[in-house]
Symmetry: C2
Subunit: 427 residues, 2 copies
């Protein structure tokens, strides 16, 4: 069948449902165990960086560009070459870079924790002393951002996520009128999970926000800053080029990491912001640690040589990931393309495809898939408080499974989407 489900007769629906159900039972009997739930790099991707494992062999290899022994204590903000690597990738100066450990998530959580405990700058009120703290949460979005808000009891206000970024009319209106709104979570390039890239206009409107709260911060999680799937990739404006020297110079906290560049669990991360914000952060971090792991910073710097080295490396990831995305998108096109029961994004980078299906049926599809041995990301995970208001969004993570498994998983998913759609239509 290839026509829109809404245009099918009752007879046709029953016939197709019988067919789909038979197919589903067959698959269920096959006892699959497939996983499209997690945005994890696959083994082949991890292998790309294995020569980094033993790139430092002796104590002599462990000297930083400035001659310091990276095996020892010290250098709180990161070794100079690691700062430069991130600065070059992000288009900022080294004074704007703090180099962290293996998880940018930790830098984000800690940035919120510092704001809660101490305020965003000298003399500003700690958020934990504010009666109410709210964050805008473009949705669908990244579940771990929302988890940070939940951890701190920060009220989340969902904002519609569109193809060119969040609904900026709403963002501007809320941010400029409500002093309790202290932050917004953004994944400006290849947004998690839609893959959207913020348009130039969106970035300009972000840079020009007029927050009611003086301590309002844009959490600019540039996790996929160079994670293109295709040579021709959309460009993201550098927000710091727009805020530098303006009233909003201190408004943006950017984060990035090499988690999806080298080894997912053993990369290095960066917190990037105005020199004043970095200085303020360091005044607290100096009590928290001596420095993050500088040997791992040096491994990365030696492995890549330069920002161009990182960009070259990303092409190898793209070569592995592209066919994985395409096998899923092809299945969607083939199985769902003409049925008018689903829309999906066609990301040019990042780690996810966002699939929107018949309102009210995402949980049903999740369960059908699970029973057939295909694990999807939990429904609602991409929304604040885990609540997808339409119960219609599924986040598809094509990176991890072997391509043959992925193909099978995508077929099962399409089958379940169709079953749920007919169920919903017939109900």
């Amino acid at each position: 069948m290839n026509k829109p489900i809404s245009q099918m007769s009752r007879c046709e629906l029953i016939a197709e449902m019988n067919e789909l159900t038979a197919e589903y039972e067959k698959i269920k009997a096959a006892g699959l165990s497939l996983d499209m739930s997690r945005g994890k790099p696959c083994k082949e991707q991890l292998d790309l960086s294995d020569s980094m494992l033993s790139i430092l062999k002796s104590g002599e290899d462990c000297l930083s560009a400035s001659g310091e022994d990276t095996r020892n204590y010290g250098i709180l903000s990161g070794i100079p070459e690691a700062k430069k690597l991130f600065a070059d990738i992000c288009g900022v100066n080294t004074e704007n870079v703090f180099v962290g450990g293996n998880a940018s998530l930790q830098l984000m959580y800690d940035a919120v924790a510092r704001a809660e405990l101490f305020g965003t700058s000298q003399g500003s009120t700690p958020w934990c002393k504010c009666e109410k703290v709210k964050f805008l949460c473009p949705a669908p979005g990244y579940d771990r951002h929302f988890a940070i808000c939940e951890a701190f009891g920060i009220e989340m206000i969902p904002v519609e996520m569109r193809e060119d970024g969040p609904d900026m009319d709403t963002v501007e209106k809320l941010v400029s009128s409500d002093e309790s709104i202290k932050g917004i979570w953004c994944v400006p390039k290849y947004s998690n999970p839609t893959g959207a890239v913020y348009s130039d206009e969106t970035v300009r409107r972000f840079a020009a926000l007029t927050p009611a709260a003086k301590d309002f911060r844009v959490f600019w999680d540039n996790a996929y800053i160079i994670h293109d799937l295709y040579d021709e990739s959309p460009k993201l404006l550098n927000i710091f080029d727009l805020t530098r020297g303006t009233e909003n110079e201190d408004m943006v906290y950017m984060f990035t990491s090499t988690s999806k560049i080298t080894h997912a669990g053993a990369g290095i991360s960066a917190f990037i912001s105005s020199a004043a914000n970095i200085k303020e952060a360091l005044s607290h971090i100096t009590a928290q640690t001596i420095s993050y792991d500088k040997l791992n910073q040096l491994r990365h710097c030696k492995f890549f040589g330069s920002a161009d080295g990182v960009r070259e490396h990303m092409k190898k990831h793209a070569a592995i990931l592209r066919p994985r995305f395409e096998v899923v998108l092809d299945a969607f096109e083939k199985e769902l393309g003409s049925r008018e029961i689903a829309t999906w994004t066609r990301p040019r980078g990042g780690y996810f495809i966002s699939l929107d299906i018949t309102t009210g049926s995402a949980k049903r599809v999740y369960e059908l898939c699970l029973d057939a041995g295909v694990k999807l990301t939990g429904v609602g995970a991409t929304f604040p408080y885990g609540k997808d208001p339409k119960n219609s969004n599924l986040r598809i993570a094509p990176s991890y499974p072997p391509i043959e498994e992925l193909k099978k998983a995508a077929e099962v998913l399409c089958l379940c989407v169709k079953i749920a759609a007919i169920e919903a239509f017939s109900a």
Copy 2:
């Protein structure tokens, strides 16, 4: 001169002062640049672990004991073999261990931060909501513990540090009577800076404390748990053996790390506590990170093989450190032994010697040394708020300088101690 300064005649004092001053000017002219300020391992110590750098060579090497790819995301609380390594060293079960990153300081800071933000357990009041939070601080102690208190605005109450641990009468009295006392900092073995080891009685009295505050926590920083200088070393009672199954089961937060075992800036750390406390910590850490660097955990496990492997390794450190301690202690004995102007500790392990000199003269000695090209730890660093009430304590760090430099530095220090003592006596 070899007699006590207090027994010298005015003539003798003038004669010796002239001699000392001439010697001092000669040294000053030599333009030394020596450093006894920092408890950093020396190059030879760092070299001991260099084979760990390239112990993981390929992806196949990166599988954990349970078969998981440590290069990828996941395993929040640490890989099983790293938990076991710390559990075996510390005499606890793996359920009592959370494995952290390269700095146990971060685990301590974060433990305080969690207590401030969320309280120590479900339903307990976050410390930031308490009108007053106080910590007992055995002094002299570790400056970075005190810095954490300062960072959070926690009031520090100094408690006298003795040869067998803190003055327990005072600790017991304060802890059981003041509900605002929420913690105490302890370095129970080879205490920083005195090198004291808590006696069995002290540990027993800690385990049997009856805190007024139900959320009182003992911060048991076991940084030097196996850092013996001599084969015959003092034993520290395992406090968890004493608290297990009692009302104080959740009272102790222990911390340790391999910072002074492998590479100071690139070790692994552990937070060790009751299963309930570990579970509570994980409920927050799950929002903060995906996991700490598991590749580095695996490197350590492969390098050591077992806790016995770590103990064997520590003997190599002892062989490097012992002569460094002894050259300083010998200089003290020779130059100050009969003068009755100084007392010092003779640690059997750890990283520091504590030198107590004529009341009121520590800052003078610090400055004399500095002018002569010998850098000491800042006076007062070992006391809460950086204030040594007697201005008499100097922390000596013998680990880092080459032994010849150390010998010279110790001589200069002794010279300055004598000058300051005669100045004080003559004043």
